[in-house]
Symmetry: D2
Amino acid sequence: MIKAEGPATLGRDRPALNRRMLERNTMSALIAGVMGPGKTATEEEVRSAYELGKRIAQLGWILLTGGRKYGVMDAAGRGAKASGGTVVGILPGADTREMSDSVDIPIATGMLDARNSINVLSSRILFFIGMNPGTASELALALKYGRPAILISQKEDIIRAFQSMSPKKIEIAADVSSSIEIARRIAGSLDSGSNR
Amino acid sequence: MIKAEGPATLGRDRPALNRRMLERNTMSALIAGVMGPGKTATEEEVRSAYELGKRIAQLGWILLTGGRKYGVMDAAGRGAKASGGTVVGILPGADTREMSDSVDIPIATGMLDARNSINVLSSRILFFIGMNPGTASELALALKYGRPAILISQKEDIIRAFQSMSPKKIEIAADVSSSIEIARRIAGSLDSGSNR
Amino acid sequence: MIKAEGPATLGRDRPALNRRMLERNTMSALIAGVMGPGKTATEEEVRSAYELGKRIAQLGWILLTGGRKYGVMDAAGRGAKASGGTVVGILPGADTREMSDSVDIPIATGMLDARNSINVLSSRILFFIGMNPGTASELALALKYGRPAILISQKEDIIRAFQSMSPKKIEIAADVSSSIEIARRIAGSLDSGSNR
Amino acid sequence: MIKAEGPATLGRDRPALNRRMLERNTMSALIAGVMGPGKTATEEEVRSAYELGKRIAQLGWILLTGGRKYGVMDAAGRGAKASGGTVVGILPGADTREMSDSVDIPIATGMLDARNSINVLSSRILFFIGMNPGTASELALALKYGRPAILISQKEDIIRAFQSMSPKKIEIAADVSSSIEIARRIAGSLDSGSNR
């Protein structure tokens, strides 16, 4: 099963949403996507991604990333594993070369960055740490598809540009902790079907 | 983490492959795909799929299906859950409508049957129960991509047709039990990196 | 516009469908897909594909193939060009390496055989010459999506297998000429919107 | 063949690239993508797109758009048709509902905005008029894949945001005429294989 149901995960960090799911005896946990640069990620972005991965796992959520062994994807995955979480990696390639060791469930798409659309559609909430063209395509698709998007420590230029396209749908967080608060609030308002 | 490491899953049903993975302290378990008809599946196919899902979960493998709440996909998922397994559903739609309740990890592709290519690329071993056009496209892609394909209780016409295209790559099993024996042998010969 | 409107293309080989399109002053011509093996195609399959490409172009139809420079795809494209036709190539790669010289309009998908779904969805009528796993996946998807599929000179095993999945939807032709007769009849029954 | 070879298209607007192609007796013309908002396009964006479509057709280039009957896509297509050009529409749906009448060659992908990746990979040069999330995803992918991207009359916020991700790869044009000058210069530096 995906989640141990021990005391640790039933503690105060576990939102009402997941409690409802346990009551319904379903294993389906909310999938949260973390998107950000790979090889070009800064040290600070890597640190934030690791912390974010940990926090996502502590909430009992499943982490979804682009699955590669670089930068934000890799660090978020390692953080999630350090807290006993589950990591889904949606890979651009047809196999698992260059996959992060943190990935439990590799999905090999073989469709390059067309897979970014799957990253977004499969995540109930998306976090964005750092920015590069691949990440920007995922943020744009989150806005297009109406998926909640939380920007963490992004530059003013980026925020202004994307807000000018889609003013209501973007959440701005100054750090990982406040991004998690925002995400928990959003999760509480999602339909009880979790990923459904 | 994906798999409880209790005695049950470390027993004799657990192949050498997974033992190696535990030694390496990685959580990545082999992903096995089960493909077959949805609404048009026969009762016998549904029974076989349920049994197959159970056996896959007992081996400590992750089950991957097309994720819909019908026929072989649904039954294999329910079987896997009954044995404490994990179920990945690669959905054709952009959301989780018509998803099987058994799915732990829904991947919403939004790309109709182009997602069949992902089903095949993401599975290390594929089982085929029953046959219809969607299933045939997945069998054909398994042969195209060189993924091990195990046909269970298939009709002579189907076997002959696909063997004429790709004689060496198809395994024929008379029932679920022998398909599992074949799959364990194949898993033993896969590289130790599991899904990598 | 796509097609010169010279006497040759307005002659008796031009079906009622296209005449209606000219009257409506629309340029959109029917897209016909030709699917078949690449490097493993037999000489006879290559000859048939070339002839079929010619006949498709003479009807004023646009030819769609998988776009590679091998076997049936390449030969159909060369035949179409020899009769002044237009060739669309839906490529598996992200660029035009290994593209057939016959392709006028290369569509680079970068998604391997997930592009087979696009081949089928974008063709109003599909012809199948020769058979291998890639071709079989396209035939299966044609049946799945309900696109008219015409098998040319296929082996009994193949015909029986696919007919057992989808009895009504497959047309059987002994040679290129009869496949064209079947296609013209089907085209006449398609809605007047051509590719719409 | 795709393009009539009359005097109009052999005139001074035809770049050296296409002349070389004619000498080589190949029909493959450069594919230029025009991306921009659909229903939310402004009147000015629609006017610019129409003019741009005309200019692209006059150069003997093939126009590629997202194929829908709204806004920039539709206007660029109508402009291209008014100058005798050819229009390829890469549609998000599985059929041609809501397709622009201007489309000669509809490619039905059935994969929602995952098709944006195909738009970019299949275009040798991309123009961007107006901006919304879908368009932004295409601009981001153009930068990711290294395809030349020309922004026409874009707001400062947008320019700054994307330049901060990929400083060298973005061309800025104040109007359609200067975007065409930039595109001709880029086309001259592309390899002679056109779309290859």
